[in-house]
Amino acid sequence: MNFLTGVFYMLSVILLFAGFRVVTTRNPVHAALFLVLAFFSAAGIWLTLEAEFLAIALVMVYVGAVMVLFLFVVMMLDINLDRLREGFWQYLPLAGFVSAMLALEMTVVLGSRTFGLSIVPSPQPHPAGYSNTRELGRLLYTDYVYPFELAAVILVVAIVAAIALTMRRRKNTRYQDPARQVKVKREQRVRMMQMPAEKPSSTKT
């Protein structure tokens, strides 16, 4: 067992533990933090597979952006934990049965007989100076440019749909007109007043 295998097993154990805690912990903030740990360990496993760009993207996108948003939502919403846990024990046997069956089926089909090293050999290690990021970029903008552009269109649809579903123009809403704001003159905003100086009154009447 060489060093990389040891690292893999260590990261896998942490990943499994974190994933298990995400589901079992009572506090949603803790669950979100355990999910961060799970993402981090997964990124580590990807690093051992020489996929350094994907590993960093996973950390940046999921840990940096998605999980922070998640934490915000968890903290801002007043979630009633007891209501969430209602019926947990009632559904547990069925859920356990379904998961066990799924796991069993997958081990039967996806075992080493069908996807073992003799059928899918492990890839050759890359020479020094090989850039994973560069290769990904090259593929994305040449061979896979069509699906890449389609993904961009899907994101545009998401933006249009989100705005179409949530924007409601109320009649009495006040809008700012930036052009008019820029064109404003001093005279329109500041009025110079001449007032006679007031003497402090020493006695109240």
Binding site: E105, V108, V109, L110, R113, T114, F115, I119, T142, D143, Y144, V145, Y146, P147, L150, A151, V153, I154, V156, V157, A158, V160, A161, I163, A164, L165, R168
Partner: protein, 482 residues
């Protein structure tokens, strides 16, 4: 890999539609509500432009692959796209007045409709699992938003939510199945997969495992039993203009989807998926036709009728022959034409604040307006499969293909369920002709809608009397492309 203009030529309609949609999306921002019809006209013009581009570049020759083999331009894709443009344009014309009266005549509606159309075009000419899935997601995301467009309606929100969750689940299943096939063959390219599977590559257990998930995903998307639960709720809850779109145009894309996946990619596994499709098809014909009898809502009834029709469509595909595929294509085109008319009629009879979507709203239509009653009669006859309408010939062609494939018992079952189904279509005819009207408002649709409804109703009759031209187009397109 270098790109030249020649690589982009086959996908000219898609590029044009994307550019036009983005233009319409921006241009609409500068229009006041009073001049919103400019957006509507621009949308129609974009479809017309696509139609011209597709028609000008259509070739009867061999399939052209581009974009690293992910995009295919063959006769099947060209033909289906042309039918698609006509369908979407008809949806727009039917729904113009309806949208106006419900405050949905907005730029986003047209933009999302065009994005959904683009997604269907991508699906129709996909030649890789990746593009097939991307097109499907583009279509589905636009549809979820379109269903939820009527924000004040709780029914629409519920429908959209159900559609979204079940659709996401189906996409997950489909992707899982695709990943299994990828694991077994090592490629995502549909043509490659076809060749590799013919050569006997891949572990049969993994392939069967993947196939089950793919067929389940397809069944979800087509809305056939036992994966049909979303169909009635979405059809009823969505604004009728969107129901019209989901009920007609998307079926064309779904047909292309099934052909590309099963008939092109996994044709070597035909023995396996034929048995699965037999079960799906019999179940949907049974559940669709029997449950439709109990419905009092017209949109819900037509939803169950769709489930039954999709079961019939699968019959043609499970024959797994050129006859079968071309008859399935004829069936889907026939269903689209008839569906356009029947959902269009609901919008034609609706008015501001009133939705003519109950069966009793059709009572005595003959006394109110004999012409519309006659057109509705033709449409219902076509759905039921009564000669001489197009629906009869479509059913006949599918049954012939099934018989030739050696499934005589299946043809008998299909005919029995069609007979059961005829009951609820003919009940509408009875309501229209032999009952006194409940609703006595004048029916005053706009001129464009009146003309389209007339053309649509008569097309159902004319194509039923002279089906040979359309049938040979379908056969030719399928034979040159598969």
């Amino acid at each position: 890999m270098n790109f030249s203009v020649r690589d982009l030529m086959p996908m000219l309609p898609e590029i044009f539609l994307l550019a036009a949609t983005c233009f319409i999306l921006i241009f609409d921002l500068f229009l006041s509500d009073r001049r919103r019809h400019v957006t509507y006209l621009l949308t129609l013009a974009a479809l017309l432009g696509c139609g011209w581009l597709s028609f000008a570049t259509i070739t009867g020759g061999a399939a052209t692959y581009t974009m690293h083999g992910m995009f295919v331009d063959d006769l099947l894709s060209g033909t289906l796209k042309l039918v698609l443009y006509v369908t979407v344009a008809a949806v727009l014309v039917y729904s113009r007045q309806y949208l106006h009266k419900r405050g949905m005549f907005r730029g986003e509606f047209f933009a999302l409709l065009l994005f959904a159309t683009l997604g269907m075009m991508v699906m129709i000419s996909a030649s890789s699992f990746l593009t097939l899935y991307m097109g499907l997601e583009l279509l589905s995301l636009s549809l979820y938003a379109l269903v939820a467009m009527q924000r004040d309606s709780a029914l629409a929100a519920e429908a959209s939510m159900k559609y979204f969750i079940l659709g996401a689940l189906a996409s997950g299943m489909l992707l899982y199945g695709m990943s299994m096939i990828y694991g077994a063959t090592g490629t995502l390219d549909i043509t490659q997969i076809g060749l590799l599977l013919q050569a006997g590559v891949g572990n049969s257990t993994v392939l069967a495992f993947g196939l089950v998930f793919i067929v389940a995903g397809i069944a979800f998307k087509l809305g056939v039993a036992p994966f049909h639960m979303w169909v009635p709720d979405v059809y009823q809850g969505a604004p009728t203009a969107v129901t019209l779109f989901i009920g007609t145009a998307t079926k064309l894309a779904a047909f292309a989807f099934v052909i590309r996946l099963l008939a092109q990619g996994l044709v070597a596994l035909a023995g396996d998926w034929q048995q699965m499709l037999v079960i799906l098809s019999v179940l949907s014909m049974a559940i669709g036709n029997i449950t439709a009898i109990a419905q009092t809502n017209l949109k819900r009834m037509l939803a169950y009728s769709t489930i039954a029709h999709m079961g019939f469509l699968l019959l043609g595909i499970l024959a797994a022959s050129m006859d079968g595929y071309s008859s399935a294509m004829f069936y889907v085109v026939a269903y689209v034409i008839t569906g356009l008319g029947s959902f269009g009629m609901i919008m034609l009879l609706s008015r501001r604040g009133f939705e003519a979507d109950r069966l009793e709203d059709l009572k005595g239509l003959n006394q109110r307006n004999p012409w519309y009653a006659f057109l509705m009669l033709l449409l219902m006859f076509s759905l039921a499969g009564v000669p001489p309408t197009i629906g009869f010939y479509a059913k006949l062609a599918v049954l012939q293909a099934v018989m030739n494939a050696g499934y005589t018992w299946l043809a008998v079952v299909a005919v029995m369920f069609s007979l059961i189904g005829a009951f609820y279509y003919l009940r509408i005819v009875k309501l229209m002709y032999f009952e006194a009207p409940v609703d006595t408002h004048d029916i005053r649709p706009a001129l464009d809608m009146r003309v389209l409804m007339g053309v649509n109703g008569l097309a159902v009759l004319a194509l039923g009397i002279l089906p040979q031209a359309l049938m040979s187009v379908c056969l030719y397109a399928v034979e040159r492309s598969l």
